[in-house]
Amino acid sequence: MNIIVPIKQVPNLIDELEINSDGTDLDHDVLQYVLNEWDEHAIEEAVLAKEAVGGTVTVIGVDTTGELDSALHTALAKGADKAAKISGDFPRGTDSHTQARLLADAIKDMAPSLVLTGVQAPDDRDGQIGAMIAAHLGMPYVGVVTSVQVRDGRAVVLKEYSGGVMAEFEAALPMVIGVQAAHQPPRYAPVSKIRQMAKTAKIDEIAGENGSGAGSTVRRMFKPKSAGHAEMWDGSPEEVAEKIVALLAEKGLLNR
């Protein structure tokens, strides 16, 4: 079974996000990039599927940061078998439409049985890549998936609705799946193994051309001006605890 996992680096949301001087994008130069959290789950689900039924896992990404190798090495250390990157003149924050087209073109040549993407990314303003890749490849797509089981050339997936309700779907492979959570928490790769991959692994390089964009143009990017903001309490934990208790007492929420 040939499992492909498209991955993507995204700005680390823990960092302060600054808007650029045009006010139309983030200031990508000051950002730290991390692997999209949902891609971690896609990698895990792919490796679990391979462990269950055999096959190979290939991780692939569009190198928009110049740092994709490290994410690919980590994925290899977690159990992926092959890594590929699409290189070209891609700016940081390249739109989903462009990335999906590049990925679909590359994946088409890999004869995939299963394509597992993260269900969404924090920066996919023009939409989720998984469903786009599926449309390009003419394959069915199911997203918000929390379990993938493969047997006899078919996949059984569980998709989450709200309130904890799940829908079970089944499809003959190939198909594309947007992973919300792996059915087991993603494993860690030992640092020594990542280092070893960085030294020995071969990353296939595929040349790609920049695309025609998202089909929409950002006029203005800004931090949300919320209707309200919490009234902030300063002080030590003891002082904060006192304020909370006083407020709850005032509201009649203490059952004393």
């Binding site: 999906a100 934990p237 904060v240």
Partner: protein
Amino acid sequence: MPNDIFVLAEHFNGKLADISFEMTGKAKQLAPAWGGNAVALVLGSGVRSLAESIGADCVIYVDDPALADFNPEAYSRVLTALVKQRSPRLIMIGNTSMGMDLAAGLSVSTGLPLIAYVNSLAADDGTLVATSQIYGGKIQAEAVPDGEACIVSCLAGAFPADAGKGSAPVEQIPSPMPLDNLRLKFVQLIEPQGGDVDITQQPILVSIGRGIGGPENIDLAQELADALGGAVSASRPITDAGWLPKTRQVGKSGLAVKPKLYLALGISGAPEHLEGMRGAELIIAVNTDPKAPIFDVAHYGATCDMLDLLPVLTEAVRA
């Protein structure tokens, strides 16, 4: 018809989801800007009565056994064909579990742009202006489509639902595409197993997020909940990790709660989490990051370490 606004109505278990009304209301408000109609689309089986309870300008429904349960492949086929045939100006789809399977694929299959995670929509002199909430709720991006037509996927709760309630003339149309050779098969719905605690019925929730650090600290939250006479709920990463059962999850794919007190500890306030708790009567948030979006919906907040706060707060409540 090229100036119409299509709204994909979402329904589940024989009931229209709120997002259907939210988007319909917005579509009705926008439609006059382009001289078109707000047209709701209902796909399903036996859905005439649902179609009759949407307050659009008109409602089109496709009734087909293959659409009895949501099936992304079947829905995508129908939507793609309808959009190509009727060339609406704007297509509104919920950024919900169902809508997320459709909007981006429809963008590729129709060649129309998609603006996702939209929480504000306006017609500015005839130009559509759509604002997306991205980067975990930390950034808003206001965008305009490069051409005239566009798809938007809308966040739940972004627009008032009341404006989309009512009824309108309905028209049944046959499926514009055959649906008999689907590769994707819906098998069954799986209801959640009853949990130990029903968090939707609790007056007080001590809700913990990734800031809890590890499963060994959950007891600290439980002790506070016990002292307050409430229960412990959580954000998704906590239930994904298996530290609490799935039935304790608040948010988009968890439960919507409206307690008298929601104590959000170490929760960043991602849009998917806020969806489930912003209606709480009193929200107090504790998060070491003063910029965490949770503080935009909380009434009171503090930036101390939740692990330091938990034991002292439990003591203070007990005192």
